[in-house]
Symmetry: C2
């Protein structure tokens, strides 16, 4: 399995607006080949910044890369920059390969 | 759902030793009430340090907290500090609440 995690630094007070962007988005992820699961995770607040992380699990790296080249990806990210005053800096993408799993 | 993520900065060359510690550990997590899933994730390498993250998903925060007070927790973490020369700094724990989910 392959995990892509985007970490977002959201200004305190903008949490609701940030979550609304995600909840109103029709990502079509569930129809994408190799998609396993998606979670939007709300973390702790420190010094006026709330940490969020989007976790998307894929069957493998190839499935993720095919998605980034698809029309579904472009549609899901349309307008993603329109509310950039919600953020304290740009998102950071981290990618991981699963090396051990218990379910 | 509640996610606990521990981030580990492992010195380059110590990846195999680090993974061996996890693979040899009998965590009994699968028998713990409220446990959902565990993944050990291998990230990118930068400046001689490899990022790893352990992701443990729980039914809720209460399930996680009950586990940290259990004998199973103590047993799983016994000897965790014995190989600290593998690391570039201490692990960082981050906890998250799931606010959106697609599976």
């Amino acid at each position: 399995m392959y995990l892509t995690m985007n970490r977002f630094r959201v200004k305190t007070g903008q949490e609701e607006a940030f979550e609304a962007v995600w909840k109103s988005r029709d990502s079509h992820l569930k129809t994408v080949d190799g998609f396993v699961s998606f979670h939007l995770m709300k973390g702790d607040e420190t010094d006026g910044v709330r940490l969020y992380a989007s976790h998307t699990m894929w069957r493998d790296k190839n499935a993720f890369e095919a998605w980034t080249k698809s029309e579904a990806f472009r549609a899901a990210h349309k307008g993603a920059k329109s509310s950039s005053d919600m953020y304290d800096g740009p998102p950071e993408l981290e990618v991981f390969d699963s090396v051990q799993e218990l379910t």
